[in-house]
Structures are given as C-alpha cells and as structure tokens.
Point group: C2
Chain length 207, copies 2
C-alpha cells in the first residue's frame, strides 16, 4: 500500500470523500449512463460544476463530441444492481437503456429519478486534458431535486451496497474501488481494472 | 430556491457529496488552515488531486505564491470547534496555530492528526482560473493515514456537527453552507456570506 518512495500511502487518497453519480449522455444513436464519483461544484457565480472522466469510459468521447451531460445523484436507496447496470458494463457494447422510454431534461438527455435524489444538466465550457482523464468544467443549465434522501457516499457504497466478496477458491485480488475480482497467483503490476480503470494499486489480496 | 429561469433548483447542487478538509498552508510568516470541501482525485497515474479554493480565502493567495498545500481529511469525530477555528475566522487577521508546535510533513506544512484520518501533501502543477475561484491541479508528494474513522461528509456536518440555530428574536437568514446568521428583515440579493463566501442563494429564512 506504500509506494516505492515510501512516502505516499495510497490509502490516504481513499479518505477523500465522494458522492456517487450516474452520468448520462447520448452519442446520437443511443442513451448511455456510467458511474462516476469525481463531481464538484467549483463556482457559484456563475454556477459551475467540474466532472472528471476516465478517457477509457465510452462516455468520455461522447461528452467531447456533444459537450453535454447529466449528473444524476445516487441516493442511499441505490442497490448494487444500479452499479452492475451502469458501472460493470460499457456503452461501447451494451445499450444500457434498451427498450425503455426514460424521462428527459431539456437538453434531451436521460434523467434518472429512481435511486437518485437530484439531477443536474451540464454544458461543457472547458476541457482540461489530464492524461488518462479529462476534467470538464461545465455551466449548469437545469437542475431539480427528487427526494430528501441523502446522497450515497462512496464510503457507504463500500460498506453497505457492494456485496462482501465470498472466500475465493484460488488466490485472487479485489479492486477496492469497484469490487472487481482478479483471479490468479499474482496481479500484473501494470494491470488496469477492466471495470473502473483504476490501476494495480487499487487492488488488494483477498483473504 | 429556484432561479429566474425557473429551470435550476439550486438545492440540487447541495446533493453533490463532499468530504470536509482542513487545508494547511504557510505564507512565509505563519502557518494557516482553512476549511474546504472541493477536493477530488483526478488521475491515478500520475497521482493527482484537484482542489478548488475561493480567491477571497487568505489561503488562495498563499497557494499561488508557494505552490504547495496539505489536505487534512476531517473524520467523523471532528467537533464544531474545529470549524469555528479554521472556518469562521481568516488567516488575514488571525494566527490559527499561535503558540503551537504542530507536526509537519516533508514540505514543511502543518499536518493535523487530531480530528483527521489522513493527510495528503500536494504540489501545484496547474492553476485554472475560474473567476471567483482557482482550481489547483496538484501532484501528490506525501500521504499518510492516521485512523480508520470515516471521513466527515458535508451532509454529516450539516446534520450532526453544526449546532441547530436557536429561534431568533428578529427575522434572520441562515447560510445553509456554514451556519452564519444574517439578522435583518431582508437579505440583500448581492449578499456574500462573510464566512464561506457563498452568495445569497445559499441562505434561507430562519423559522
């Protein structure tokens, strides 16, 4: 858990508090949604929100093309199925809203009211290239509240939503971020989580 | 709570989940600490964290000059006194560490272990001017964990840490962000909270 320099305990980074969100977009052919946690209001006047998205997420390219997105704030009643649906598969290959006629905001994107306590429509003003991720600084175009339930925090997700891993038969490593399990004697040091794209440092040996 | 356009319910912005942090800096003459909530990890490789700070905070100028800061993650045992000390007064006029000999990280800045579960030393790589605020994109230089207590969320602060306002004798407005009370018949529309710098939209009539 401590890196080469022995100065950075990566667990400290997990002490940063986050909410969890379904980011909805539309690539021109279909609606999509993915799970993100890096959302913060950055100014009040004008009202602006920053969202950080991994470039490997299908949504990232869609945002670059369309310059819009909805942030749907997950509430404490969100189930693990929500994470499986939006977080454990990719819009590259799956139509996550197939057969549905979801509610839409004025920008035409999906608004999720189930398992969410609010939504915010964002228009990208500035894209900051951070290498593996893009940070989008956005103006707020529309926003509504659905319930008084608390926002689901990442900590709550880890404690109460994500199923406890069952004792593995063979040696395996679990991603502390999303729960993905890698089976094998040794996790390759350059391994990237196929689900949440965190690197090997996010994994720990399952006991 | 709904703006002119009737499309943006500002309460939705309060559904974004945040942790709370004491940001420590040193202006060359004294240590300082202020309360912030806008902190997020933006990349893993390299490890980078973004912090957004209001330009009216004394710390903002210090960061621009020194290009370094420590983020101390407040834990659920933090008391309202911590917020009064670091959030309800300014380093412009007060020496918040007067007479103390605090613990320091390798960058020379104060590390707070009491009421905090971790700290992260940051070096500014990029400053993004957002008008009222600066967003600092930083590399992580050092990080340690102090306890397994959960990070204090902004929601928890609102519910359990901030004292309930006592019934006012005259009409008054309370800042939903920090608890500051404005006494008067009407809150000026251009009013800025003297404590947390949020605008009039963050205030509600006290009942």
């Amino acid at each position: 858990m401590t890196n080469e320099k022995e100065k950075i305990n990566l667990s400290a980074l997990f002490r940063i508090g986050y909410g969890l969100y379904v980011l909805t977009t539309n690539d021109g052919r279909k609606d999509n949604g993915c799970i993100v946690n890096s959302v913060m209001q950055v100014t009040s006047n004008p009202l602006r929100v920053a969202v950080c998205v991994n470039k490997q997420n299908y949504s990232c390219g869609t945002i670059l093309e369309t310059l819009k997105m909805n942030v749907n704030c997950l509430s404490v009643d969100a189930t693990f199925d929500v994470f499986k649906r939006f977080g454990f598969q990719s819009g590259k290959t799956v139509d996550k809203f197939f057969g549905e006629t979801p509610k839409r905001s004025e920008n035409g994107l999906v608004v999720m009211s189930e398992f969410c306590n609010a939504f915010i429509s964002l228009a990208v003003e500035q894209t900051i290239d951070l290498g593996t991720h893009n940070m989008f600084v956005c103006s707020v175009e529309e926003a509504a509240v659905f319930s008084d339930l608390d926002t689901l925090t990442y900590t709550e997700y880890q404690k109460n939503v994500k199923p406890k891993p069952v004792a593995p038969k063979k040696k395996s490593y679990v991603c502390k971020v999303c729960g993905y399990v890698f089976e094998g004697e040794e996790l390759p040091p350059d391994f990237i989580c196929p689900i949440c794209k965190h690197d090997a440092s996010a994994f720990e040996l399952m006991k």
